[in-house]
């Protein structure tokens, strides 16, 4: 069954929801890839997203893994173009227009209004993910410890996520 058109539709749509960052699209990413298209399970999505936090560059590169699972190398490329193409075009056009909008009073209103909404979407995505990732006292402890360390010290977050892997390997392996 050819899933490529569905991949294009889903990721082009998700692209436009990433206001303030990729996490804003996470709740819809879950609904579409897990519940509607059954491309992967919710735990798999959480795993891929979390591993993606350790990769360099834009932090939504885990979409490449989904594309590859569904339709091989072509799927990976299609997903990249569908996910980054629409917002890239928008940024290109608005970027050129932006200077002309300098004195348009609503420009500031839009910026100020969208700032709290984008943080809300980031949190909403985080809570959606937490529902699957925080399954007990141990995982909650790891999450809170990571949060507190990051707020307190300047440390590369990728190192902490990697540390989570080590702690997880020792804590959750069935005896």
């Amino acid at each position: 069954m050819n899933q490529v058109p569905a991949l294009i539709r889903v990721f082009a749509y998700l692209s436009l929801l990433t206001v303030g960052g990729g996490m804003a699209a996470f709740p819809e990413l879950k609904v579409l890839t897990v519940e509607v298209h059954h491309w992967l399970t919710f735990p798999q999505l959480i795993h891929l997203y979390s591993v993606g936090q350790m990769a360099p560059g834009p932090n939504m590169m885990m979409i490449v893994s989904i594309g590859e699972w569904v339709a091989g190398p072509l799927g990976a490329i299609v997903v990249l173009i569908a996910f980054f193409g629409p917002t890239a075009l928008l940024a290109f056009l608005i970027g050129r227009l932006w200077k002309k909008l300098e004195h348009w009073p609503w420009r500031t209103s839009i910026q100020k209004g969208l700032a709290p909404v984008s943080i809300g979407l980031l949190l909403a995505g985080c809570f959606t993910m937490a529902k699957g990732a925080i399954t007990g006292l141990e995982t909650a402890t790891i999450a809170v410890a990571t949060l507190l360390i990051l707020l307190q010290y300047k440390i590369n977050p990728a190192l902490l996520v990697a540390a989570g892997a080590v702690i997880g390997a020792f804590t959750f392996v069935p005896k």
Partner: protein, 205 residues
Amino acid sequence: MSDAGIKPAPQTASTAPAAAGTASVLDIFIEFLIIGATSFGGGVVAYLRNGLVAKREWVDDKEFVEMLSISQTLPGLNATNMAILVGDKLRGALGSIAAIVGVCLPGAVLMYIAGMLYHEHGDRPLVTAALKGVAAAAVGLILATAMQLGKKSLSHNHDLIFIALTVIGVNRLHQSVPRVLIAVGILAILWYYPRKSDKRGEATQ
């Protein structure tokens, strides 16, 4: 994003003005490839600033902040929106394409390989256990990002209401993201509607 690693651009004014004009499409691709390959840990904005402002002097600090504010307002990730804007400034549409391909390529290749490995070995008990830890740590990381972002870009207590409305809409009322985005977004934008003697507005900048 975090400010970690941001250094002020060196004040070597002699090379600055010419720099933007001499950037070839290949230069742009290579610089963004380096940023895309080294920006471990999510704070990609800091890496962009180091590479583009301090090292290459392709954009100055003021322009960088301006471009960043466009990037944050538009949908799309900061890293890719910045790539488009800086690439366009330096070499037009071709520059934009070189920049976005460069910044995405390393992470994309890495996640392509990681995805294949996970597909094959993901159900091994040790891998599942490790990933459980990774996912929990990632939740902590995203929460920290949200808090740091909030501290930096919000200055009004009533912004908390818009944050709460967004979270409740998505997580409690189970509305779709675009619906919540449009509803709360319009509400918040109208709240900040342009007024002649804008007092509430000034503090945010």
